[in-house]
């Protein structure tokens, strides 16, 4: 039995008065072609960061095949009507730019950063990728083969295997249920399918351009209109999907990795989207539970017991659904011990109101790290994109700290009871079956899978 006392530091200086946090003004505009643009100035370095989002990702085209939007995004920067791949890459370097293109479940995006002095030519290139991608045959073929190797490789990573399984368990046949295509699915990709996705999704009405950096917003808005203004295209029709399963009761899903010298734990249950009114309180609850270094779970299974290096909990919000999850890579012989503590900390948050002191600490933490988004261009870009993509209120950034600080212990108790759904957590365990099966079975009826994702 641990005694209930915690030693406190003696003599630590109190905090000084807080400096006000002032988020920069945002300039929001809609170009003549329907393209939504949001700009914010940040002059810390002579650079700028931007993203061109399309509000369609892999989910929107999952009825064709998984990962299609991602493959489309991969190809977009490999050739345009004006340039071949090598020219593109050299030109980007010439502008001091970084650019990547990818797609998640709900969006596709071109992300870029470069020197302010070359803002216009970089935006020209972004526009070229968005409007004139050529999908060269050879590039498609190479990227398809490359992808084949990647989907093989990811099956050797415990973290991938765990999240693949959890997503399947939580979302079943819903597009969110498959995080990555199979080899066979990749092998069957067709260039024409990518082009179709490109035509449908990469349109100004479906897009959002975010720019943050060392520029004058009004000038930049003019540049944007000049570069993107003539682009045309409709919003694609929205898809709807059947509701995902909501598994009841704890179950264990053991993914057998022969010879694993550690076990990856990943537990999860359904939660909420970013738009849900409970989002902030769930965020605070999560940061108390396992979302911060100083959180209970980390202090327990890392600092107190040394079971793991990297325990963590989080709330993952997709556009239509969200889920709460807990992860830790633990020593093989403490799988059961770790799960016990993971559930205990959950149950305790559901049972005992947090003290006002602990609550204040967590509120400080959450509002402090939130405001750190101010300090860098890409931090700010990330905050702005969260607000814009999730259609959060305009004053979201400005009011966030206040909303965090308004929460009371009873709010957190109610939130933990609602979302840290201890009795219905789905438990994914990735490791060497012989070493961990007995332990894992203590927490629920087990199902077994191989690294290919097949039930065995």
């Amino acid at each position: 039995m641990a005694s209930g006392t915690v030693e406190m530091a003696t003599g630590a200086p109190e905090l000084a008065a807080e400096r006000a946090v002032t988020w920069p003004k945002r300039t929001k505009a809609r170009l003549s072609n329907g393209l939504e643009v949001i700009l914010a100035e940040s002059h810390s370095i002579p650079k700028f960061h931007g993203e061109l989002f399309f509000r369609s990702g892999n989910a929107a085209v999952a009825d064709r095949t998984p990962g299609l939007a991602e493959m489309t995004a991969t190809l977009v920067r490999t050739g345009t009507a004006k340039r071949v791949s090598r020219q593109i890459e050299e030109e980007l370097r010439r502008l001091g730019a970084d650019l990547s293109s990818n797609a998640g479940a709900d969006t596709s995006a071109l992300s870029f950063a470069g020197l302010s002095e070359f803002a216009a030519p970089l935006l020209e290139m972004v526009s070229e990728f968005a409007r004139e991608a050529a999908f060269p045959d050879a590039e498609f073929e190479r990227e398809r083969r490359q992808k084949l190797e990647e989907v093989k490789l990811e099956r050797t990573q415990p973290g991938f295997l765990a999240s693949e399984r959890l997503r399947r368990v939580l979302f079943g046949a819903h597009p969110y249920g498959q995080v990555s295509p199979s080899e066979a699915q990749v092998a069957a990709y067709k260039r024409e399918d990518l082009q179709a996705v490109y035509r449908e999704s990469y349109t100004p009405e479906n897009a959002l351009l975010l720019l943050v950096g060392d520029f004058d917003s009004q000038e930049m808005l003019k540049t944007g209109e000049k570069i993107f203004g003539a682009w045309r295209g409709k919003k694609p029709t929205a898809k709807t999907f059947a509701a995902p399963p909501n598994p009841r009761g704890r179950r264990v899903y053991l993914v057998h990795v022969p010879g694993a010298v550690q076990t990856q734990l990943l537990l999860g249950c359904h939660a909420i989207t970013r738009q849900h009114p409970d989002w902030v309180r769930l965020g605070l609850t999560n940061s108390l539970y396992g979302g911060a270094f100083n959180s209970r779970l980390v202090m327990n299974i890392r600092e107190d017991k040394g079971y793991t290096y990297s325990p963590r909990s989080g709330v993952s919000a997709l556009r239509e659904h969200g889920y709460f999850s807990v992860s830790a890579a633990v020593r093989n012989d403490v799988v059961a011990a770790s799960l016990t503590e993971i559930f205990y900390e959950m149950d305790k948050l559901r049972s005992v109101p947090v003290s006002t002191a602990e609550l204040a600490d967590a509120q400080n933490y959450l509002s402090g790290v939130f405001s750190m988004g101010l300090a860098t261009q890409d931090g700010l870009l990330s905050q702005l994109s969260t607000v814009a993509l999730n259609e959060l209120p305009d004053d979201y950034l400005e009011t966030y700290r206040q909303r965090v600080r308004a929460l009371r212990p009873e709010d957190l108790l109610a939130t933990a009871r609602k979302y840290l759904d201890s009795a219905n957590m789905q438990i994914v365990v990735v490791g060497d079956r012989a070493q961990i099966e007995q332990q894992a079975m203590l927490f629920g009826e087990p199902e077994f899978y191989d690294v290919l994702g097949a039930r065995v």
């Binding site: 530091a9 793991t308 400080n364 300090a375």
Partner: protein, 443 residues
Amino acid sequence: MKRLQIAMESTTLANGLKVVIAPDSTAPVVTVGVYYKIGFRLEPPGRSGFAHLFEHMMFQGSANVPKMQHIKLINSSGGVLNGSTSYDVTNYYQAVPSNALERVLWLEADRMRALKVDDENLKNQRDVVKEEVRVNVMNQPYGGFPWLDMPPVAFRNWANAHNFYGDFADLDAADLTDVQAFFNTYYLPNNAVLLVLGDVKAAEGIVLAGKYFEGIPAGAAPQFADPTEPEQTEERHGFVEEKFGTLPAMAVGYLMPKRRTADWCAMALLDQALHGGRAGRLYRDLVLEKQIAVEADGGIDDVFGYNGPTQMTTRILHKPEFTNETALAAFDLVIREVLENGISADELEQLKVKWRSDYYATLEGGRGGYMPKYGLMHLLACFTLFDNEPQLVNTILEGFLNVTREEIQAVGRKYLRKEKRAIVLRNPVKAGSASGAHAKETA
């Protein structure tokens, strides 16, 4: 061309602690770092992994700060923190709302003055470190490749050649006596630099540094072991088994010139010519054009921050249908092309623009945006500890922007030689072969 100029003030306290303040009131956030001039290169013989384990111990309690309280005090101030160990320095850093500045300084000073840890803490963090090694190395495909696999093949001096994460037996052998001795030897104000960056006035930062740190007594200047390598005269080879991954992997490392020598800037740009992303020659040739490799990356690790024998290392994962020999031959062709023909003026111009752009990004952020000014902190720390010249952060760029095509070709010919390189192959375990992966040199 807009140029970024970092404002700063620096001083040295009576106890030898160097202090650098870099004010910038863009955001009400301050980043505080303490760098100690000791890394895993110089950890005690028989104690592989000790410098890193010790880094963990620095969070386990000091005179007035019991276990867990450092973390709690930073997080509950609205801040984040971490520490890291590299070849030649160990750092501790936190980014906090600027109203927590004094608290952070107090915390850093408390642990610079005296650790207060016990056997249980040590055992606990030993367990945590083992899980860190498992999650990052032993249970990952290509875990630790090549940064842990290359040194024992490339180097002859234990300082450079040992397992920096630590053999588990060595970790287990470390005791509190080792911890205290290491602390007493290296964790001295006169072997460290304090950095305060962001929302602080320069004069205020200097005063606060004095307030919290000047009472910490200096110690005898540490005697550093000599990390010099004997002259390398032949290509070296190593083989490691890959337990999980299915692709053959290869790493090629070339010995680097000393940092801040004449050749150094040119090598850095040549590194970018070879490893600079999708436009880099190796990726373009091996992945995009010949399509032998699935991954081809690497380069010089921490070009501003190394202080001993170091390599520029290329990491290649190639398709199983190609042999290691084929992959290596393709690699060699890329190298030979540079040595024979150099690079074009246009390519050099691209490299310089990109270098400048990257440098600015480094100064602003680093560590994925959750730790503002990490990059600036790191440069200031290294320029202070190794060069006693933090102002280099504002001038060092010139050297890179002045590199010529000729210099690049010359350093290529001088350093990218087979007898100055080491190659490690990490091939997937064949069915039926024994497991147990350790780097061993055969030639």
